[in-house]
């Protein structure tokens, strides 16, 4: 007779414990029920839209406008800096944990210029493994059980699991379309100030802001940011501002840093990304900038999670930043030239989608575009009902049109999925040949449907 129950040991019956331990010794672990489950903090956090959709789209015959990664080349000087660095011995060893000195110096210079305030490279900046790592460090440092965190829907999907992993409660508020669902621009999507105010209470530790916004491409205006700022100040709430697309704003729009509003620097952690700034998502370098009294806690998380980021990549990034820092007043600066390049891709993408009978929401920033696919009336009722419409649509589109996108309900809390399931997200930071291939599919779309 074999007893595997751990509870048995807790009862403290020594004789049975001895029998138990002897029988455990002689059994193989395969016959014991495995008690080592996941920890509570990651309960329910194992599934992930990317794991599902990057697999599906990995087929090279599929035109991949799904996951947000550029297939354009990073600027040559960025690649060259990394090549130069590879030859320097000491750059293959550990650097300063909280950020390579030349990189934090460069970041402080660039952002001092942008923010109009002094930023101490050693105390006000933390370099992390991508903006993703900054989000994690910020949330682990400042959020815990009993806290509520306001998340604006649709949201970059990691916010919700990260908040949950920290033991806190996500509180959602949707962007709502102003014109009764007829949306031509990302600017049509707004927060209802009264609805937003209602979400704040004594437990609200932070609000996560993402501007320019993924997936809609909204660039929050000064007035909109002021509404959020006023509430943060009133309720003594922190602001986690994900600004990875900060340089990608299109004509007529301006990216405003909420941390520059009165009363906000002291309560805001602003997050940026090398991957998005320089089209090098695979470098996985990001940063958090804010007041020392907040950043020091992120640094504690960092020193207890991965300690340092790779040295050669940080050095190369620092050198790239110096190149562009020197020309920040020049239109040739990559921060502005990339934006111009993407604006024409955006316009082309929008045109193609319209011609196929789809309704794109033109983004004011970022490199994603959401599209209302309900106008196509594709009947997917016979497909597995458990998934939202947009999941089914994207899978159908991948299979039958060889074109991939990401379903928008992946970016929503449970209750809002219905509101967004007619939208899918396209990424347009793609080289011309990719967009050409997409064009072929979209032009032929109506020939095969109906």
């Amino acid at each position: 007779m074999f007893l595997a129950s751990r509870n048995f040991c807790c009862c403290g019956f020594k004789l049975r414990t001895d029998l138990l331990s002897r029988s455990i010794k002689h059994s193989t672990s395969a016959t014991m029920p495995f008690r080592h489950k996941n920890t509570r903090r990651i309960e329910g956090l194992d599934s992930n839209v990317w794991v599902e959709f990057t697999k599906v789209a990995a087929d090279p015959s599929i035109v991949n406008l799904g996951q947000g990664l550029p297939d354009i080349s990073p600027p040559s000087y960025v690649k060259e800096e990394l090549a130069k660095v590879a030859a320097v011995d000491r750059l293959n060893q550990y650097t300063r944990g909280f950020g390579h000195p030349s990189l934090v110096k460069a970041l402080s210079q660039v952002y001092e210029k942008v923010c109009g305030r002094k930023i101490d490279p050693l105390t006000d900046i933390l370099v992390t493994v991508g903006a993703y790592g900054s989000l994690f460090s910020t949330i682990q440092a400042l959020i815990e059980e009993g806290d509520e965190v306001i998340i604006i829907e649709p949201f970059y999907d990691c916010y919700e699991p990260m908040v949950k992993m920290a033991g806190a409660k996500p509180v959602f508020i949707p962007l709502r379309c102003k014109n009764n669902g007829n949306s031509a621009s990302s600017a049509d999507w707004v927060l209802d100030p009264a609805e937003l105010a209602n979400k704040f209470n004594s437990k609200t530790k932070a609000i996560i802001l993402n501007t320019p916004h993924n997936p809609i491409g909204k660039v929050f205006t000064l007035e909109e940011l002021q509404v959020i700022a006023d509430l943060c100040i009133k309720h003594d709430t922190l602001c986690i501002s994900d600004e990875v697309y900060e340089w990608l704003v299109y004509k007529g729009n301006k990216h405003i840093k909420i941390a520059t509003l009165p009363g906000m620097w002291e309560r805001t952690v602003t997050i940026g990304s090398a991957g998005k700034t320089y089209s090098v998502t695979g470098w996985k370098l990001g940063w958090s900038i804010g007041p020392e009294y907040l950043i020091k806690h992120l640094q504690v998380v960092h020193q207890n999670t991965l300690y340092t980021c790779p040295t050669p990549l940080q050095e190369a990034l620092a050198q790239a930043f110096w190149v562009d820092y020197k020309r920040m007043d020049d239109p040739d600066c990559y921060f502005y030239s990339l934006s111009r390049e993407l604006e024409s891709k955006r316009d082309r993408m929008a045109q193609l989608l319209k011609e196929a009978g789809l309704k794109p929401v033109i983004p004011d920033g970022g490199y994603f575009m959401i599209v209302d696919v309900s106008t196509l009336n594709v009947d997917l009722s016979d497909v597995d009902e458990k998934q939202p419409y947009d999941y089914k649509f994207v899978k159908w589109m991948i299979a039958s049109k060889k074109l991939s996108a990401i379903p928008l309900s992946a970016f929503c809390g449970l209750e809002t999925k219905k509101q967004f399931e007619k939208y899918i997200r396209f990424c347009f930071i793609k080289k011309d040949s990719t967009l050409d291939a997409a064009e072929v599919i979209l032009k032929n779309w109506n020939k095969q449907t109906g």
Partner: protein, 455 residues
């Protein structure tokens, strides 16, 4: 420390008293709570921040922090250059989150050989940002509040705060020195666990034991018998083993590194952690990995996808090529895994001689690139300060770097708070250094000794 003072309700005196009190209570509660999360309690201090700073400021010879001052091997840096020059600019974009396919494939191939079992690169291997992040994923994935985790002292210092951050309780068990009777220099093998003492640390709350072999800082390479003892207890108590094997290739004197996962009943309960930084002398690349059964790695993957998600592509690409080379040369004299320990053994012997020559008593390490030495004959330079908060060896190491320009790390850095004063006379030296560095260290020591003898 939050920012605002409560103002709202006080301007409306007609509010019901209890409602007003409630409001003030909520606002004050928010105000009096610290801004940071409780999980950071007690883990904010870090020895490296202080000692790395001191070394940067004062040291002429840095034998402190563990990184080589000799270059990474050419074949590795060339692999990076090739990857960059190859025209595949997609190497600058995201790769597979759980590990770049060429890297997980070659790691699976390598470890299949070493462990004698089939491995699936997709489910039995995960790439992390250094072994450090692999450790983090293990604790976050597997250690819950109330769980106990056994840590063998002295230990690589991050284990304790990581266990605490996961809400676990570290339970310490020491390696105890049994000096050889013949007055010869101690070996790291002379530091041993007491089997009964170890067994007594296992309780029904024990979730895992952290094993580090070869051990930092002592350099101990656990023998088959010692591993067998640990394995037996793990199986008996159904406890997991987090096996930090970053120095797996750095073993000397013909010793063998034995992987605990290859012992009976251990594969299913062990996560093996490795490091490209240590394997290929490129600590700044921050590429590490976890190898283990899917039923454990799946939870590490969940943590990983919710914390960093991807690791840098190009470093993984180059490390994959490094491993491919080593796979082809495995066991041959040109293998880096054969050459590096050979070179390091010589450096070890050189440093042992230098230290012994001036009266510091080194503990000869069986592995790693660290050695710990007893600095007793030099204690007179740094008088004891009774009732000092700081352990003696820490004060000694600070004095040494400031006054002699020689950086090393106090052994107390590798002990829990309660045990930091157990050994007051030991400091750790890193010998993964160029000959010139080791010679310069020797010169400093000689001059120091002469100064003492003549004064």
């Amino acid at each position: 420390m939050r920012l605002n003072s409560p103002t709202c309700g006080l301007q409306q005196p007609h509010l019901a008293r209890t409602a007003l009190e409630l409001l003030i209570f909520y606002l004050q509660a928010k105000m009096s709570r610290p801004v940071q999360a409780r999980r950071l309690e007690g883990i904010d201090k870090n020895i490296w921040v202080e000692f790395v700073n001191l070394a940067a400021t004062y040291s002429k010879v840095n034998l402190g922090q563990g990184f080589p001052d000799f270059p990474a091997p050419d074949f590795l840096t060339e692999a990076l250059t090739r990857a960059l020059g190859g025209g595949n600019h997609m190497l600058h974009q995201y790769t597979r989150a759980f590990g770049h396919p060429p890297l997980v494939k070659v790691l699976a191939q390598f470890f299949e050989k070493l462990l004698g079992r089939d491995l699936d690169p997709m489910t039995n291997v995960m790439v992390t940002v250094g072994a450090y992040q692999a450790l983090f994923c293990c604790f976050q994935a597997l250690v819950d509040e109330g769980d106990e985790v056994i840590i063998i002292e002295p230990f690589f210092d991050c284990y304790e705060p990581m266990v605490k951050m996961a809400g676990g309780t570290p339970v310490f068990v020491p390696l105890r020195p049994n000096p050889p009777k013949d007055g010869k220099l101690m070996s790291s093998a002379d530091w041993q666990l007491d089997p009964a003492e170890l067994a007594s640390k296992f309780s029904e709350r024990t979730k895992a034991i952290v094993l580090n072999s070869p051990n930092n800082p002592l350099g101990k390479v656990f023998s088959r018998e010692e591993l067998g003892l640990i394995a037996e207890l793990c199986v008996k108590h159904d406890v997991l083993c987090i096996s930090d094997e970053v120095y797996e290739w750095l073993v000397y004197d013909g010793k063998q590194h034995i992987r605990i996962a290859s012992l009976q009943g251990m594969w299913d309960r062990t996560v093996i952690i490795g490091s490209a930084g240590k394997t290929f002398s490129a600590t700044g690349w921050k590429v590490g990995w976890a190898v283990g059964p899917d039923r454990l790695l799946q939870h590490l993957r969940t943590v990983h996808q919710n914390s960093v998600y991807h690791c840098a592509t190009i470093a993984q690409e180059a490390v994959a090529q490094g491993f491919q080379r080593e796979l082809m040369l495995y066991g041959k004299p040109e293998s880096y895994f054969v050459q590096l320990p050979k070179e390091l053994q010589q450096k070890r012997d050189w440093l042992v001689q230098s230290l012994d020559g001036v009266g510091m008593k080194p503990i000869i390490p069986e592995g790693t690139y660290f050695l710990v030495a007893d600095i007793s004959p030099f204690k007179s330079d740094v008088p004891d300060v009774p009732n000092s908060d700081e352990p003696y060896d820490s004060r000694f190491a600070k004095w040494m770097v400031k006054n002699k320009g020689l950086a090393a790390i106090p052994l107390s850095a590798f002990y829990s708070e309660a045990h930091k004063n157990n050994y007051t006379n030991f400091i750790r030296f890193c010998f993964a250094k160029e000959e010139a560095t080791l010679k310069a260290a020797s010169d400093i020591l000689q001059k120091w000794k002469q100064k003492k003898t003549s004064s």
